[in-house]
């Protein structure tokens, strides 16, 4: 069976049903891809044995070729989301580290501000996120 395919396309009701091999995409990827289309279509996700079933009913009447294009866009979105999930996992430590640093920087109470920034211009960093790794390793425990 094809990896993904159009099971039903009915321009009269602007309805499109796609089926996908459940082994190809995680459920998170399917949700993320489907979400991108909710401004254009009403979407129902279902499962039939080893196939995900994606039922899309366009919010505005669509001609046949536009619906086929939407099916293609959905397939591309699945691939983009799957790859993003992989890249996100591969770089999870970097992403979380930078995000934690940014949030910490934006929320930390900077007592020194009344007298201007510190010598290096950084705000207080109670979690030590801004310290070089070497310093952290050298710091005594406890």
């Amino acid at each position: 069976m094809a990896q993904s395919q159009i099971e039903q396309l009915d321009p009269a009701s602007s309805t499109l049903v796609l089926s996908l091999d459940v082994d190809l995409y995680s459920r998170d990827v399917l949700y993320a891809a489907a979400y991108v289309f909710i401004d254009r279509a009403y979407i129902l996700l279902d499962r039939d044995a080893d196939r995900y079933m994606v039922r899309m009913r366009a919010k505005q009447k669509m001609p046949d070729e536009t619906m086929r294009a939407m099916a293609g866009e959905f397939e591309n979105e699945l691939l983009a989301q799957a790859l993003r999930e992989q890249v996100g996992k591969a770089n999870q430590a970097i992403i979380e580290g930078i995000t934690a640093l940014a949030i910490s920087g934006a929320t930390a109470v900077a007592e020194s501000h009344a007298d201007g920034p510190g010598l290096d211009g950084f705000v207080d960093d109670p979690k030590g996120l801004g310290a070089p790794w070497q310093n952290k390793e050298e710091a005594p425990e406890g």
Binding site: A80, R84, I95, T99, I103
Partner: protein
């Protein structure tokens, strides 16, 4: 090059191309331990490589092959070139590089610096591309109240950033003059104890300006910025002023304000009314006249801004819009002309190019919120609507003006800590990191590029978007390509000009 040639030249934007290592080298010969992680792209006949530290080099194909295969030996010119540019893994001083990273990512260590207050939705212009939910001048119910303004200023002062810029926007912000005045005085008073590096910026069409307002703005050191779309007919065609001639009014006041700066002893090379054009379809063939207009009014920089997908701009896309290819062709024509003017001794630069060159040539991070990692949503800027709603940015507010509150992160009644530490802020920061984007992680321009999550959401339906068919990516990648071609071909005089574009001068007068 003469003007005639410039006008008739077929604009071929030089493009780079992604190139796979296996196309140029034999995988069996690769020595992955030799190099730090890098990305590559062909530019003309050469290959440009970059690393995450922000270093870059042009290599010939032979040099690139030797590099990937780990052949250069200490003492050899290629080895030393690679070593100086931090591409040889065994030669990296990681403490130096971590300090360098920290310097360029300093903005991660503090909260939002830019606080954009929308004082009203009222405006006396009917600009065809306007982003905002513009209403008539009688709709005073869309004005920000003094109470909301004070709460907003109180919130803004809680930022952990030492620098704080309050920007007045609209509508036409001077239509709500009393509140503008009050914010300036209230913030200045607060700053007597907060002691932040406080500055104000006013984005105005200047049509409601009068001598009394101007004296107040000059006395309180409020920087004045405006919109100028080019020559009179083009400007007035797009920026429709019901009560007069927008272009003439604008230029009259720009001239007067610039003269007042001179009278105050300020350097006219630095202190001018900042003017920004928005490029529309009628602008596309008029790149030379647009640049000339900016030069004539004394502007030292032209920021060639593409029409964005928000607000009225989206509704007017059919009449004002154009493809990204058309914009890029316009851009190349305009910047080629700017470069030509520089060679003739005229001091003018293009702002996108200057920001990018700042990163590439000066190893600096100008903290331009649309082109940094992570993007500026929430942690770089906040948008304050008249009703007290707080948005991730100006663009987040534009999305809201189209009926979608996706980027509303709270209100002036919320605590700063809740806004910054909330799930929405976290999600927007994470989405604005290039490290999570499939195309970005393998792009040679990754160290200098950035994300705007609001743009991704509006154009592609998710905060992350997908860069492969993103117009955001196409625009920035193409401009980087254009600049890389210029750098590759530049002689010493051109390099001097490009370095001059990276010069940053602090406008101390506008710091309160």
């Amino acid at each position: 090059m003469g003007d005639t040639m410039l006008e008739t030249r077929a604009a071929n934007l030089p493009k780079g191309s992604q190139v796979a290592l296996a196309e140029l080298t034999d995988p069996a010969e690769w020595k992955p331990d030799f190099a730090v992680p890098f990305n590559q792209r062909t530019i003309g006949g050469k290959i440009v490589i970059s690393n995450d530290f922000g270093d870059w080099l042009f290599l010939t194909q032979e040099e690139f092959r030797d590099f990937v295969e780990g052949r250069p030996q200490p003492g050899e010119p290629l080895y030393e070139k690679l070593k100086r540019a931090n591409f040889v893994a065994s030669e990296i001083d990681f403490l130096d590089q971590s300090l360098r990273w920290r310097r360029k990512k300093e903005y991660l260590f503090y909260g939002p610096t830019l606080h954009a207050f929308v004082l009203t939705h009222r405006c006396n212009h009917g600009c065809q591309y306007c982003h905002s939910s513009i209403v008539g001048m009688d709709r005073m119910d869309t004005d920000m109240s003094i109470e909301t303004a004070e709460k907003g200023v109180d919130l803004a002062f809680q930022t952990t950033a030492h620098g704080l810029t309050i920007e007045f926007q609209g509508g036409e912000p001077t239509a709500n003059w009393d509140v503008l005045r009050h914010i300036v005085e209230y913030a200045r008073e607060k700053n007597k104890t907060a002691k932040k590096i406080l500055s104000f910026a006013l984005v105005t069409n200047l049509s409601l300006m009068d001598d009394e307002k101007l004296e107040f703005l000059l006395d309180r050191h409020v920087q004045i910025c405006t919109s100028l779309d080019g020559p009179e007919d083009l400007h007035n065609q797009i920026r429709i002023f019901r009560d007069g001639n927008s272009h003439q009014t604008l230029l009259t006041w720009m001239k007067k304000i610039n003269q007042r700066y001179v009278d105050m002893g300020l350097d006219p090379n630095q202190y001018r009314v900042e003017a920004l054009p928005t490029i529309t379809r009628p602008s596309l063939t008029r790149w030379k006249e647009i640049v000339d207009t900016f030069v004539e009014v004394g502007c030292r920089a032209v920021f060639l801004r593409k029409l964005d997908p928000f607000g009225f701009a989206a509704k007017s896309a059919k009449t004002l819009g154009y493809s990204m290819d058309e914009f890029l062709e316009f851009y190349a024509n305009a910047v080629d002309y700017i470069i030509e003017l520089n060679r003739q001794g005229v001091q003018v630069m293009e702002r996108h190019a200057a920001i990018m060159l700042n990163k590439i040539l000066a190893d600096d991070e100008p903290n331009y919120l649309d082109l940094r990692i992570p993007g500026g949503a929430c942690i770089g800027q906040l948008g304050y609507a008249p009703d007290g709603s707080i948005y991730s940015s100006d663009e987040g507010r534009f999305v809201a003006s189209m009926g979608d509150d996706m980027f509303r992160i709270g209100s002036v009644d919320d605590s700063y800590q809740d806004l910054m530490g909330g799930a929405a802020t976290r999600a927007l920061v994470m989405a604005g990191l290039n490290d999570g984007h499939p195309d970005c992680v393998s792009c040679v321009y990754k160290p200098w590029c950035g994300q705007q999550v609001e743009y991704n959401y509006k154009t592609q339906g998710s905060l992350h978007g997908h860069m492969r068919d993103s117009t955001w990516c196409k625009k920035h990648k193409s401009i980087f390509d254009y600049l890389m071609h210029k750098l590759e071909a530049a002689d010493e005089k051109d390099m001097e000009m490009f370095r001059l574009w990276t010069t940053n001068r602090t406008l101390d007068h506008f710091i309160v």
